[in-house]
Subunit: 225 residues, 2 copies
């Protein structure tokens, strides 16, 4: 292949991957929104908002399929090599993490609907805090990918440790409430699951961050404790 | 490309993918073993076995990386098109599901260690049943991929509905125990998480089965209710 032909091919590839990254960030913003809404719905016992999260998950799932198709198309038509192939492969993996996060937001919305027949056993503080942190992690993990920013990726892992600490607090507090008043048991166990799902969301964000570090450095680190 | 050159390329590709599938099944059998061991350890409160699961997870993680590398190598060197490219992409996704299952088995093993200071609040029946079913689903999902067997893939989805039913039973039973005796709360919530992790494992197996249906038919079905 001549050098100008090579350059041209590279330009086309970069355009295509920029387009993919735009879609990825769109998917990411939908996932962030789903997380925020699922927790707002839980906090305010807002069933309509919970239903919106569940319905919106379809769009996230479709986006995953679309971006997946685009990834395979780029591989087939552009035949990227080495680092460029890995960039596409990483994106291919990331959309799966995002899709899973959407599933967890949906699980949280379903819990909101399930426990809607009685008021909350306590005002929610740490759970919304976990949600805000998880959302930030999602955003930063995607930014780290687009900018190939290892430092930002490592920061995502640090937030994950914070999320784990918050989960520990939440579980201990709920256990205490349950022991003092067994009538709270059903709802408290559901709230524990909410905490767990947020932790899984943060875990997927950390996964993405680890992928980014691997993409840039070739080393697969463990970013959280 | 001449037709004999084409045939030769196809033969090399098929050899390489057969080799990959062997590794995939090896990884699958390690995951099945991890699930079985994590539940045996829980049932018998066998801390050594629990630790083996946790240590063994490293091997599963390494295998994922190795197979991932091989997938990218095949894409780069063989440049498979259309269906063949999708076969590699599907395998690439499946190993991520398997790796996650390994993580869940590890989470179960950690719970075993966490609750080891007191005897079990009840003999475990439904949890081991869920584990056997999940293991079977993992095996069948991988077989369905290798044989491109849609009927087998659909059967995996049916088992997933059974797993969900078992989880419902487990949670109801544990809630009853907790309400009758608040001293059981800490352990009972941990056992609920075990049920949830098994459900997630079954969910990943269903994911794989859905991928297989997509690979063969081009339709992305929802295999569980």
């Amino acid at each position: 292949m001549g050098s100008s032909e090579f350059t041209e091919k590279k330009v086309v590839f970069e355009e295509k991957i920029a387009n993919l990254q735009e879609r990825l960030q769109h998917m990411g913003s939908l996932v962030e929104e789903a997380i925020a809404r699922s927790i707002a719905a839980l906090k305010d016992q807002d069933l309509n908002l919970a239903r919106m999260v569940i319905e919106g998950d379809e769009i996230i799932n479709r986006l995953e399929l679309e971006i997946e198709e685009k990834c395979l198309e780029i591989i087939a038509t552009q035949q990227p090599m080495a680092k460029d192939l890995r960039r596409v492969a990483t994106l291919f993996k990331m959309i799966n993490d995002l899709e899973r996060m959407g599933d967890y937001a949906t699980s949280i919305a379903k819990i909101t609907i399930r426990i809607a027949d009685q008021p909350l056993i306590k005002p929610l503080v740490d759970i919304p805090r976990m949600a805000v942190l998880s959302q930030k992690m999602v955003k930063q993990a995607l930014d780290a990918y687009v900018r190939e920013d290892v430092v930002l990726a490592v920061a995502v892992g640090q937030d994950d440790d914070e999320v784990d600490k918050l989960l520990g607090q939440i579980i201990r507090e709920l256990l205490t409430i349950m022991m003092e008043n067994p009538k709270t048991i059903t709802q408290a166990t559901q709230l524990m699951f909410v905490g767990r799902w947020l932790e899984r969301i943060a875990d997927h964000a950390t996964n993405i961050a680890e992928e980014v570090v691997f993409l840039v450095t070739g080393e697969k680190p463990k970013l959280n404790d």
